[in-house]
């Protein structure tokens, strides 16, 4: 029949093409990652990268995928209790927890549903708990690394501020429970290999480790409690500069702190304090800055003290109000990608900037301090800053839990890296962080002096007692 002869090749081509597509489509359903992940990358808070392009696609590994699949099948077929290992949130959470923990980065962590919610509320500027921004700081000890729960800043009007918590304070116990900042048995392991140690020493080490473990509470649980408790009373044991303070009692609650505070210091010098960097902060900042300029401010003291980090986009908008769309930082991303961080929006007016910083200046606030110093010649007065310039992105899983990853490192336009060391001010004026905004704020007095007399700036910055090259934290 002529039919088959005439149509056989086109038909063959159609079938071949169809089959190729069908095969590809069939296999594509195994590769959920590519399509789904880009949706799941939902920056919750922190410094979400502005350029979150999904360059995934070929990112999977056959052997690894098969391994996971086989293990799930083994659990299904063999485990003594019958369970569903395929649709199992507990298993999925645990897998994510282990994967993220294995990165060996204390800033990358798994977030359960509650922690994830708390985090997004904080990003929106709604705070509960004790009202302090807390971070884990690592300190190397001979036998272990201590993960200390450290206060970055106590927010104005918060229970933590009223209780007198200061940046750098380490919370050691909550409600008489030791916060497990390291494996209590690390000394025991060490001793067990020490042939010189006596039985008594080993027994003593073991007993005290056990005692410590029995009255301990995990770091995750406690930080979640401190950030989300809405009532009751908490008893904290805090140490400052290695010395224990008397026990502190405070009542947690829910509150929305003021984001920006501003006033005129005199006829030509304005003052703006950024308390928190949330999505609402830039608008308030712009409003306050316009008001100051309208009142005739030619210089502005930008107070970034006790100002914990927030969203990167928000700080880009704050920078925009000051310097317009110029670059004030860069982010080093994975795979060698470098992205510029530019200001967003038009500048409000031309003002001379004097910056105030201290140990409580953290994250995006540090980025602003270091960036504006280079981009706008802002002089910095106060204490060395916290030293965290890592970009962290929160990713959300389908069920509302999530995880945070360190996704980049932020450096100044001239590639100065302030991670761990902090941003060193041009003039160091040592002062307790709790005196910020109170009477006797010597840092503010110095900033005002510098702002008033541009000509004498250099001399004012090197007033005796202010040894600019000494790191106050060392």
């Amino acid at each position: 029949m002529n039919f088959s002869k005439r149509y056989i090749w086109p038909l063959a081509a159609v079938i071949a093409g169809g089959a190729l597509c069908a095969g590809n489509f069939a296999s594509s359903s195994l590769h959920v990652s590519a399509a789904r992940t880009s949706q799941a990358v939902e920056p919750l808070t922190l410094y979400a990268s502005a350029s979150a392009d999904a360059t995934m696609g070929l990112d999977y590994d056959l052997d690894s995928l098969q391994l996971v699949w086989k293990v799930l099948n083994i659990v299904k077929d063999y485990y003594v209790d019958e369970i569903d290992p395929y649709n199992n949130s507990k298993m999925a959470h645990s897998a994510v927890k282990y994967m993220v923990a294995s990165l060996g980065d204390s800033n990358s962590q798994f977030l359960d549903k509650d922690a994830s919610t708390t985090l997004s509320e904080m990003a929106q500027g709604r705070f509960s708990g004790i009202g302090a921004v807390l971070k884990i700081r690592e300190r190397k000890e001979p036998n272990f690394t201590d993960q200390q729960l450290t206060v970055v800043a106590a927010l104005p009007g918060s229970p933590a501020e009223r209780a007198g918590l200061q940046p750098g304070d380490v919370i050691e116990e909550v409600d008489d429970k030791w916060i497990m900042s390291h494996d209590p048995f690390s000394d025991v392991y060490k001793l067990s290999k020490d042939y010189k140690a006596t039985y008594q020493q080993k027994k003593h080490a073991f007993d005290s480790a056990k005692e410590l473990q029995e009255r301990s509470v995990s770091l995750d649980v406690v930080s979640q409690k401190l950030m989300s408790a809405k009532e009751g009373e908490l008893k904290l044991k805090v140490s400052r500069n290695g010395k224990a303070l008397p026990p502190i009692k405070l009542t947690p609650g829910v509150f929305t702190p003021e984001l920006v505070q501003s006033k005129m210091l005199d006829n030509s010098v304005g003052y703006i304090r950024i308390v928190l960097t949330t999505p609402q902060t830039p608008a308030e900042f712009r409003k306050a800055l316009s008001a100051l300029v309208g009142k005739g401010a030619s210089s502005v003291v930008l107070d970034l003290r006790n100002s914990p980090g927030g969203q990167m986009v928000a700080s880009q908008e704050i920078a925009g109000a000051l310097i317009g769309p110029r670059q004030f930082a860069q982010v080093l991303h994975s795979r060698g990608r470098v992205d510029a961080l530019n200001g967003r929006g038009n500048p409000v007016g031309k003002v001379r900037l004097v910056g105030l910083v201290n140990l409580g200046t953290e994250g995006t606030s540090e980025v602003l301090a270091a960036g504006l110093r280079e981009a706008a010649g802002m002089k910095l007065i106060g204490d060395t800053t916290w030293g965290n310039g890592f970009e962290r992105t929160a990713f959300r899983l389908e069920d509302g839990s999530g995880y945070i990853l360190t996704t980049g490192k932020i450096v100044s336009p001239s590639k100065r890296d302030f991670n761990k060391v902090g941003v060193k001010p041009d003039a160091i004026v040592p002062m307790a962080a709790s005196r910020v905004g109170q009477a006797g704020d010597t840092q503010l007095e110095r900033a005002l002096a510098v702002a008033r007399r541009p000509a004498a700036e250099a001399a004012l910055l090197t007033i005796p007692g202010a040894t600019a090259d000494k790191d106050s934290r060392s």
């Binding site: 079938i15 095969g23 990652s33 590994d61 649709n87 199992n88 949130s89 060996g104």
Partner: protein
């Protein structure tokens, strides 16, 4: 009629063509991801059946529940694509520095993530969610170690090492018939160098690692011996060495009380026990102490073999209760009962677990001996090792076991009840003196052993006075 055959042929041809292209399309991504190197393409093609199966058995999503495999894939992709390792993590296990620079820009060169280790961690996490301390993932090195332990042999020189008070590693005992003793290594030799490398300040585990190696290769040792002034050089061929699972001794020669320590239950344990019993019998043993203290268990088969030596035939050593409730009895193997039955004491403590508890439980239930010591660990679950591709494996709890009388001895997590209670509770000395030599002072600082000897003496006395039946 004539025209139908070509038509059918055409249909078949088209179907074949479709199938071929479907497979090509199906494996396209894998082949592309393999980077077009022959090995990668081969793996990708070989994986096709597995992938098809994966596709067929795609589990249905359940609302409000995360899908484990998809979540793993999602997080893995995100980590690989986005994670920026802070400098402090460079030394950790997961991060590997690539040997070739991809970007060409050395300043921004970064370590890459080890996908395999990340996957291992994910699997560990999945299994940890079962809240079963006996279920876990064995990576290739864990798995290898475990196989060596279960097979009862490893490749090495056959010298038991120990650390002395000066922190030096010395030969505690060269194992009989092994390469070390054949080469002339003696008890007490201090190891100075391995393959030219000084071992000063090294941990005993590190020294063992240095001495181990592939079969039939040589290791050179420099050794200090007693009063010899010059260090001695040895070159020893590494060979397969059997672990010594059993130790034995006549602790009371007068009354004929033998002591037999079993370290672990592996495939060589029963054979070694047989030899030890023969040796004890040659020394006129009349009663036996079976020491299962600190014995963490081992293979189920081995427990049945060894249990069969001590309990009467016709009953089970242990009852296995599978998922779903079916039970199977593992009966006494009469061929193992090739030694006489003696008055028996079994020593147990809180570290006697698993297979040890099977044997101790069977002896207790059948009144075949007296249990002395402290309550045992309480592990009444059987694990199976399921090998995985890439030399890793999963150890997974697959069944429960019951003692012959039907007791589940598994320790309850909440009530902390479980384990096997000894017939006579005797605690170990809390603080044995530092200088106790476990060989010469075996009885001196060991109240459990002392009690065992006393009980056996009493049993022997009643045997000789004709109360044989009462004792069995």
């Amino acid at each position: 009629m004539n025209q139908r055959r070509p038509f059918l042929t055409t249909v078949v041809q088209m179907l074949m063509l479709g199938l071929v292209f479907f497979v090509v399309g199906f494996s396209w991504r894998d082949v592309r991801a393999s980077g077009w190197n022959p090995a990668g393409v081969r793996t990708a093609l070989l994986a096709i059946p597995d992938r098809m199966q994966m596709l067929m058995e795609q589990p249905k999503p359940v609302e409000d529940k995360l899908r484990v495999r998809e979540t793993y894939q999602e997080v893995m992709s995100t980590i690989i694509d986005r994670f920026y390792p802070p400098a402090s993590t460079l030394a950790t296990m997961v991060v590997k520095t690539p040997t070739n620079s991809l970007a060409g820009d050395k300043a921004v060169q970064q370590p890459s993530l080890d996908r395999k280790q990340l996957t291992y961690m994910a699997v560990r996490g999945v299994l940890a969610a079962l809240d079963d301390p006996f279920t876990g993932f064995l990576d290739p090195s864990d798995y290898k170690k475990m196989r060596e332990e279960n097979d009862g042999n490893f490749v090495g020189i056959g010298a038991q090492l120990w650390t002395n008070k000066q922190g030096q590693v010395f030969v505690k005992e060269p194992l009989p018939g092994c390469p070390a003793i054949k080469a002339g290594i003696k008890k007490g030799d201090v190891i100075l160098k391995v393959d030219g490398q000084s071992v000063g300040g090294k941990d005993i585990d590190e020294v063992v690692k240095m001495i181990r190696g592939p079969e039939n290769t040589r290791v050179s040792l420099v050794i200090a011996r007693g009063k010899e002034l010059k260090p001695l050089n040895f070159s020893i061929k590494r060979q397969v060495v059997e672990y010594r699972m059993v130790e034995h001794e006549m602790v009371d020669k007068q009354d004929g009380i033998g002591w037999l320590l079993l370290r672990q239950f592996n495939s060589k344990a029963d054979e070694q026990m047989d030899q030890a019993l023969t040796d004890l019998e040659n020394h006129k043993m009349k009663a036996l102490i079976l020491d299962l203290r600190d014995n963490p268990g081992g293979l189920l088969e081995s427990a049945v073999e060894i249990g069969s030596r001590f309990i009467p035939k016709g009953g089970p050593v242990v009852i296995i209760k599978e998922r779903g409730g079916q039970t199977s009895k593992l009966e006494v193997d009469p061929t193992r009962q090739d030694h006489k039955q003696y008055p028996l004491v079994v020593l147990v403590n809180e570290m006697s677990a698993s297979a040890s508890e099977i044997v101790a439980g069977a002896i207790k239930d059948t009144h075949s001996g007296t249990l002395i010591g402290t309550t045992t660990f309480g592990k009444g679950r059987v694990q199976t090792i399921v090998p995985l591709p890439g030399d890793s494996a999963v150890r997974i709890t697959t069944a429960k076991y019951l003692t012959p009388d039907g007791h589940d001895i598994h320790k309850d997590r909440i009530t902390k009840k479980g384990g096997i209670h000894p017939d006579i509770e005797v605690k170990a000395l809390e603080d044995p003196p530092e200088d106790a030599d476990e060989n010469t002072d075996r009885l001196k600082y060991d109240p459990q052993m002392q009690k065992a000897v006393a009980v056996l003496k009493q049993k022997l006395a009643s045997v000789s006075s004709g109360k044989v039946q009462a004792m069995r």
